[in-house]
Each structure stands twice: as C-alpha cells, then as structure tokens.
C-alpha cells in the first residue's frame, strides 16, 4: 500500500491527520450556526403561531419522514464502519460500506423526491393556492421546504464526496490510511444529526 504523502506544511503524518479532522470539526461548528439561524426563525414563529404551526405540521407525511430517518441512521452506521475499516486497512469492508452508504443516501433522496411530489400535488408549496387556510401555515411550510432543501443539498454534497472516495479507493489512487475517509464520515454524521433534529420539528409536531 503506498504511504500517504507528507504534504508541505507538516512535519509529521500524525499531525497532518489530526489537522484534517480538527479542520472539519471547526467547519462543523460553522455548519451548526448555519442551521441554528434557520431553527431560531422556526422557534420564534412556532412560539408566535403555535396552533397554526402544529396544524400545519400535521400535514407533512410522517411515513416518509420516519422511513427517511431510519435510512439515514443506517447510512451513518455503514459510514462509521467504512471509516473504521479504512483505518484498519480492510479494503473490501471499506469499499462495501462506502457503496452501501451511497445507496442509502440515494434512497433517502428518492424518498424525499416522492415526498416533495406529494407535497406539491397537495398544494403545500407556499404561495397562491396554498392548501391550508391558517396564515402562518405558509410560514411553517416555508421553513419545511427551506430546511429539508438545504439538508438535501448537504446530502448531495456528502454523496459526491463519498462517491469520489469510493472511486479513489477502488482505483487505489487514495491509500486507505488517508484521513479523508474519517473526515468524510464526520461530515456525513453531521448531516445525519441535522436530520435527527429536523425530524421531530417538522414531522412529529402536533401529532398528539
């Protein structure tokens, strides 16, 4: 297996690995603030228009939402195993789990697509002809579309990164010891965590 090349500013491989993980953690701190901003908006409007928000949240499709949560949690499992396998140098395990992660990620997006189609058919897109009479219901769905959309965008980026790594690991152009596998895993898990919070806020509110 070719050794990871020591890149320019670093004096030791260990430090270089450490930097990749640390840099990504700092970036995730940034991502937390990104979603926190929208979630603050959500929280404020949910406080101001509680009844409307709960009524609107009942209109989301809890089956698709729950299914997608399960898919995403499972993809996190395979991603964690892939990162660990890469570290242990288990090539077949890593390749298989990366492929499984991509499959689960795509499945998530496909389910999301079905869900979006249904939402559009039911006129849940804010604007003229919106299905629900309560005025703040449109605000709920504004956040619904925005948050799930931004999350799906993050998923797409994660899929791109994972697919690239899979390709590189397959072609053996990136050694398994590269920190990239672990770093990609961190990002993937973060996107999972975002969804873990979106799920109760968007799908489970107002069900009781």
């Amino acid at each position: 297996m070719p050794a990871t090349a020591l890149r320019k500013p670093w004096r030791s491989l260990r430090r270089q690995r450490e930097a990749a993980g640390f840099g990504l953690w700092v970036f995730l701190g940034s991502e937390v603030m990104f979603f926190a901003c929208a979630l603050t908006g959500y929280a404020v409007y949910r406080t101001l228009w509680n009844a409307d928000f709960l009524a609107a949240a009942r209109e989301t499709n809890v089956v698709y939402g729950t299914l997608n949560t399960a898919i995403l949690l499972t993809s996190s499992l395979t991603m964690a195993v892939a990162a660990e396998g890469a570290r242990a140098g288990l090539r077949r395990l890593t390749l298989a789990c990366l492929a499984a992660t991509i499959a689960f990620g795509l499945a998530f997006l496909v389910v999301k697509g079905f869900e979006y189609r249904e939402d559009i058919e039911r006129h849940l897109l804010p604007g003229p002809g919106f299905a629900l009479p309560a005025p703040a219901a449109q605000i709920f769905f504004a956040f619904y579309w925005l948050l799930t959309g931004v999350h799906a965008l993050h998923m797409t980026i994660g899929l791109g990164v994972t697919a690239t790594l899979l390709w590189q690991a397959w072609r053996r152009s990136r050694p398994l010891r590269s920190p990239a596998f672990e770093v990609a895993g961190l990002y993937w898990h973060f996107v999972d965590i975002v969804w873990i919070f979106l799920y109760p806020l968007l799908y489970l509110a107002g069900r009781a």
Binding site: R14, R17, E18, A20, G21, F22, W25, V26, L28, G29, S30, V32, M33, A36, C37, T40, A43, V44, T47, L48, W49, V62, T66, T69, A70, L73, T74, S76, L77, M79, A80, V81, E84, G85, R87, A88, L90, L93, P128, F130, P135, A136, Q138, P179, E182, G185, L186, H189, F190, D192, I193, I196, F197, Y199, P200, L201, L204, A205, R207, A208
Partner: protein, 124 residues
C-alpha cells in the same frame, strides 16, 4: 484524530459489533420518539421530542464521530458552537417574548393571496 487514546478495532467483526449496537439504540430511540409523538403530553411533547433527538445526536457524536476519545481540543470545538446557539436563542427570545403589542407580528392582520402590495421587480 485517529489512533489517539483508544485502541482501534482491527477485525471486520469487531468493527461491526460495536457499531451495530449503537445503530440498534438509535432505531429504538426513533421508535420511541415516533410513538411518544402520538401521546398527548401537552407542551412536554416538544421537550420529549427534542430530548430524544439530543440523545440520538449524542450517540452519533460520541460513538460514530469518536468524541469519546480524550481529546479536549475536539470536544471544545464540537460543543463551543452550542454556546453561541444559546446566545442567539436567549437574546432573540428576550425580545420576542416581551415585546409590546403594537410590534408583535399578527397585529397587522395576516392574509394570503395575489393581492399583496409587493411591487419589487424580481430581477436577479
């Protein structure tokens, strides 16, 4: 990042074993939050839902993202942003919850429809 503090599993079976347990716990929590969402808990429903979400997130962070490792720098980095989220929420709500009636949203009667006086050209 890696190889610090804890012995990494090296066999495929060992890798699967540890992580499958976490995954099972996550799915159990998913089931719990789904079921509890249909139980009328009043305003505690939100607390329970967010509590379970936090537990799930913590599982992922600690066990999938390896924050269990004794690396104070990473822990600080991971949780520092939560302090600032708290700042944002606290001070925003300090305003929203105590605002005088005339500037509360809703004092202008909301309406929807095509008759809104939005005149800006939506040029890019």
């Amino acid at each position: 990042m890696s190889g610090l503090g804890e012995a990494a599993p090296t066999g495929a079976a060992a890798i699967w074993r540890g992580r499958l347990a976490v995954w099972a716990a996550l799915l159990a929590l998913l089931g719990a939050t789904l079921a509890l969402a249909y139980v009328p808990l009043g305003r505690f429903g939100l607390v329970v839902a967010l509590g379970i979400a936090a537990a799930k997130a913590l599982l992922v962070v600690l066990l999938f993202m390896h924050l269990r490792k004794p690396d104070p720098l990473l822990r600080l980095t991971a949780f520092a942003s939560l302090v600032f989220v708290a700042f944002l929420l606290t001070l925003t709500f300090a305003d929203v919850l105590t605002r005088a009636a005339p500037t509360q949203p809703g004092t202008v009667l909301p309406r929807s429809g095509p008759d809104l006086p939005a005149t800006g050209q939506r040029a890019f």
